[in-house]
Amino acid sequence: MQVQSMFFKESASKKLNDAVLQKAMKKAKSKFVDGRAASVATIDNWEDIRTHAAALRDRVIANLDAYLIEFEKNAIRRGSVVHWAETAEEANAIIVEIARKNAVKTVTKSKSMVSEEISLNDALEAAGVKVLETDLGEYILQLAKEPPSHIVAPAVHKSKEQVAALFVAHHHKPLLTDISAMTREAREELRAHFLAADMGISGANFVIAETGTTLTVTNEGNADMVTTIPRIHCVITGIEKVIPTLEDFATLIRLLPRSAIGQSIANYLTLTTGVKQANEQEGPEQMHIVLVDAGRTKLLGDDMQSMLRCIRCGACMNHCPVYQNVGGHAYGWVYPGPMGSVLTPTYVGIENAGDLPNAATFCGECQVVCPVKIPLPDLMRKLREKQFDLHLRPFSERFAIQVWAFFVKRPVLYSFASRMGARLAAWMGGREKLIHKLPGIDGWTDGRDMPAPEGKTFKELYRKKYASRKTNP
């Protein structure tokens, strides 16, 4: 997917004024935030599980090579073919080649964010392969020709009415108003394709080293159809998704659906281990697993490494006050919210990420809800440090920091300057004691007044009032 993150501010501004989006975001917030809170409250050792899961993910990442090789060995043992892709282009080329070799005409796909990263659908379509998204949200977006705006609920930004209109335009059936009727209609549309597809492509929430299993968590069961019906199953996932054992999955699955949408367990856990064996009725004849790097190894040994713990639950964005107000598209790439503000600069380059590391008040909600305890605000601050060191922020901002720095380090000058500042601003506030416009901080005064200072600084008042007191301890 093309990176548009440079335009975060402009894009966010549009989204703030998009009434349909605003309504959708309000609805989503209560569903995700309240849902998570209620479901987490039922677990008495939630914090222990988080701590355990964070350590587990850290252990995997510290030994990523070893676990990946173990996974590869066990996957091959079960008849899968494992492919390694260092870049997005390589990953696309591998999958296009699999399709070409096997004369694949049609593909059904269950949700995969990695495939969004690398624009897999475009690559396949360019090679003459028809791709059909089968996750309901992704299907809607495929009809609307839009990228997902959320990693778990990709079409969360769309209203029911917008979806109904899309269905009328593409299904050529009467307008529906009821969500379950709309879901049924989509299911009917998809069914024939499920049965006819030559290849199924799925993502993976985890891949398991000890068994060579790939694992998909869904609520619609579409991944079951995608992974078992077509003669070829292709899994595409990031290399960081490996976990050691099925038991570790048992831990992580306690966290994932609860953090994501407040569900104690997802409706479908689809585990696929290799091709159809001699004594089995179902399953693909070929299974390909494409393990994608596309920037991930850059995080290893870097101060961003803990980001690789991420299990893509979406809780950080669901709780982020910035995301809640602007939605996912504003972030300009595949991953929105706090995790996106870290992943986009680290995967596609900090120089392409614009304001993303600054799109946070550091309120800390993301860190509190992250099931694998990723210190997202700290990571964003580290990215700001990189931006600062690389001179990637606007001159005016650097200049302002330098001026500020000059004064705060020199108490005498600082006292003098702040006394002047306080007087000037108090005067500007007038009788109302409100400043309506303050050049240089238009970002503030465009939408808010600035309550004026009292007029004298604490320091000077203190000195006057307690002239006799020592001011040094």
Binding site: T361, C363, R384, E397, W444, R448, D449, T457, Y462, K470
Partner: protein, 247 residues
């Protein structure tokens, strides 16, 4: 007990009343309060803008200023989080100077946010000030999530006799976020807006909080929208009975 007062750069510049209210509360409780006059800022604006070395320099300055105090108290959860958490866990975590690291750990341990200090160190029983209004309390993010300020200000406010009506999403960020409020002003304003709506629903006469940044942000949005009525106070002003001189 020698208590150092860190008023914060915002209070010094914009609303000294909060500083004097803090001073009064501490002195009324019997503390010997000292005010190191060279203090400027804890360094947070630079720290959160990516100016790491500069924020380390300022941290050292703060350390030196309060070396001889038994405690340091600040009427801000945000600056307190900076000193208690970020100095130690980030800025000097990997410092090769073990002595300095220890010093910062000591500073962290003796540094308190005002309400936390009043409740958990001084364990004050009563307050002379009475406040009869209907108030609602906004939890500032850093205070809440970094250093656990939640019940302390509420407990203290209850002693003044005021009625506390909790707003929806009291723990939600008001959108201030330091320089965020200027860099991404439009988003920041919307967040402040959401806060104002939640305040209005409570019907409170006054919105009380513990960080001047948030207070300026919320008050600024209230006034811009034409609400001249809802008062906005730091809890120190309410507790010290000094709301008259506040805005």
């Amino acid at each position: 007990m020698k208590v150092g007062l860190f008023v914060t750069c915002l209070v010094d510049l914009v609303r000294p009343n909060i500083g004097f209210a803090t001073l009064k509360l501490l002195e009324d409780a019997g503390c010997e309060v000292v005010f190191p006059s060279e203090q400027t800022c804890c360094g947070q604006p630079g720290y959160n803008s990516g100016a790491r070395e500069l924020s380390q320099e300022l941290a050292r300055k703060v350390l030196a200023e309060f070396k001889d105090c038994d405690y340091v108290v600040a009427p801000s959860g945000s600056c307190s989080g900076q000193v208690k958490i970020h100095y130690v866990q980030d800025l000097f975590r990997d410092s090769p100077d073990a002595v300095e690291r220890k010093e910062f750990e000591k500073l962290s341990a003796k540094w308190f946010e005002l309400s936390d200090f009043l409740v958990n160190v001084l364990k004050i029983k009563s307050l002379p000030a009475q406040f009869s209004g209907n108030v609602t309390y906004h939890d500032s993010c850093a205070g809440l999530r970094e250093i656990g300020i939640k019940q302390q200000p509420r407990e203290l406010l209850a002693k003044t006799g005021c009625t506390l009506t909790e707003m929806n999403d009291a723990e939600k960020c008001c959108g201030f976020g330091g320089t965020f409020s200027i860099k991404l002003g439009e988003i920041s304003t919307r967040m402040a807006d959401n806060k104002c709506v939640n305040i209005a629903v409570t019907g409170a006469d006054a919105m009380v909080g513990g960080d001047l940044g948030c207070l300026l942000n919320i008050e600024g949005r209230l006034r811009r929208q034409g609400d001249k009525k809802t008062r906005v106070y730091h809890f120190a002003e309410v507790l010290a009975g000094m709301t008259d001189s506040a805005m």
